[in-house]
Symmetry: C2
DNA sequence: TTGAAAGCGATACCAT
DNA sequence: ATGGTATCGCTTTCAA
């Protein structure tokens, strides 16, 4: 038998109500005064029976759960950082995380039904497609389940969102390279339709312009998105190297930077002596890349925390839809060096 | 107003009970027959009101939740793979994942209380310390919450566990190197007190012995566990290189292999021409290491799935405590090559 | 200071 | 074929 308030009440010879008051500590401060001998008796029996409040039953009664759903793609260690951020921040307020993994191909109607069925306090999501997100919104707003975006590449004026400041992050990479004397800096990235790539490219452009460096459409290299380094990607990178002979490159992500490193190595280009490379994200493995990667670190954990706070504000009635943009940090490792004066 | 069975019953002019039967499809097959016009009326109204069953209330009544807790350290993309495996397998049976991140320093009593309070159907955990695990067991078994271990380095005879077969995985790496003609193969790993490192080292030893390769205590190099490549780690790796001049090395993990690559590069040792390196795990980034890493792939996703099935067996009464060991796979990339005949 | 009782939303047995 | 009603474990108002 598992202990309930009833079983405690029986053992203590008091009513369920009294047990509830005592166990919730609501006999202090309220106008509810309970004899301290009753209090300690109840507490002792609860302890004895190993009582543990049934949060499920409580949720039914109060009409609110303390569960936050995380909906979206779960990929890469950085996602875990975000999740940990949300979880840690949420834990301080008694919230738990329920996971709803969703790919682009996932039926979001079903996810929405599940979220609603679980009576989630809110949903934090990332990397859904625009259609998925809108469907989710449609299904959830009738149920009064607020949505917050985290690390999501698109902004929506109906929804708060926590992200890192990628525009300035990418700009800071250019600034650093420029301070190292580089002038021929190219940008290599994936599909620019993907929001973050765009933002980082824009930051690169802004940096180039601000520091008086020449760039044109040709100094951008868009490679296929593919975790592996395919022959086609190799060719794309080789082409721009041979055509422009850059002394430095900023990349749309760490994985891209690592591919660039491989191709450069194959071309016998020495890093960082002949070519400086800067990644983007600060993923765990960037530190053990060969050579260790200079990169722009995104504060994933903090992004997660802020997403939770956005949710919290939301349910407290002070909904903001302005983006929370967290600053990035450039970490300098061994893939960058001052430009060689004489080539 | 959010729809309830009551609101549907009112609108349809029937009782809650009828609505419950209809909405749960329990009017088919059971001896409960409900007029199909009533059925379709109820269904239409439910649809109209956007009814969505309150799983929380249902859980109170039935006394069972469909939530599985994942307790433990959340680190690295491979953890996400495991979680996805658990989640996907669980989803087919209607289970959800609740996250309870726990570090070695986390108060596990509190986690246990939360798990119990949430009335979890079961708990799947990994990377807890032995003491944490025992405490969790103590606190949870009285509540009839079963525990399953996933990717956990220690075995316990009271607890089912899903892992990859690291002994044979490490052995297969040696086998491959041996087939490439290598004879001077060393093993570089972290702290051998960490269960998996031990297992992989044992697999290495078994392989060396089986394929008639000479090894001794000296052919093992234990480096500090540290994500970064510290000067001390550099020194440790350099020392064994210089002392033994191996032609190949198997590593306890992918990150270790990548550190070895860096040090080798710094020593101007060509990979794979002068030195073959094999990692362990098959982490996402091993494919973009420089050079791409030959490594032993662990089936993390499948390990997660199997962990769920162990849980499921457990609650179905057919508890097994024997390990489920999943086979690894050696993937050959560019960090290995046949040994040079003439040095 | 304490207890009785209503109610949260759902399930399921027993009548009708 | 359908409804009444007790129940799950907890919260909370109202009386005593």
């Amino acid at each position: 038998m598992v202990a309930t308030m009833q079983s405690i009440a029986d053992a203590a010879g008091v009513s369920r109500a009294t047990v509830s008051y005592v166990l919730n500590g609501r006999h202090i401060g309220s106008r509810m005064k309970i004899n301290h001998v009753t209090v300690s008796k109840v507490e002792k029996i609860a302890e004895l029976q190993g009582y543990c409040r049934n949060e499920i039953a409580r949720a039914v009664k109060t009409g609110k759960t303390n569960a936050i759903g995380i909906v979206g793609g779960l990929s890469g260690s950085y996602c875990l950082e975000i999740i940990k951020g949300i979880s840690d921040a949420g834990a301080t307020q008694g919230y738990f995380i329920k996971l709803f993994p969703a790919e682009l191909s996932t039926d979001i109607e079903q996810i929405a039904r599940q979220c609603a069925g679980q009576r989630l306090a809110g949903v934090i999501c990332s990397s859904l497609s625009e259609e998925q997100l809108h469907l989710l919104r449609e299904r959830l707003e009738g149920k009064h389940i607020p949505i917050v975006l985290v690390d999501n590449c698109f902004h929506h004026d109906w929804c708060p969102r926590a992200i890192s400041d990628d525009f300035n992050g990418a700009k800071s990479a250019v600034k650093y390279l420029s301070s190292l004397g580089h002038r021929k800096i190219i940008h290599i990235t994936n599909d620019l339709n993907f929001g973050f790539s765009r933002l980082r490219y824009d930051g690169y452009c802004a940096g180039m312009d601000e520091y008086g460096l020449k760039r044109d459409a040709g100094s951008l290299c868009v490679i296929d998105s593919n975790l592996e380094l395919t022959e086609s990607i190799r060719a794309q990178i080789r082409e721009i190297f041979l055509r422009l002979k850059p002394t430095a490159v900023t990349c749309g992500s760490d994985p891209i930077a690592m591919k660039v490193i491989i191709v450069a190595s194959e071309l016998n280009i020495k890093i960082p002596d002949d070519l400086s490379i800067i990644g983007y994200a600060g993923l765990d493995y960037s530190v053990i890349s060969n050579p260790p990667l200079t990169t722009v670190i995104q504060p994933f954990y903090e992004v997660g925390r802020q997403a939770f706070y956005l949710f919290e504000k939301n349910i407290n009635g002070s909904k903001t839809v302005a983006d929370v943009k967290l600053p990035t940090e450039l970490i300098i490792r061994n893939s960058t060096a001052p430009v060689k004066k004489f080539l």
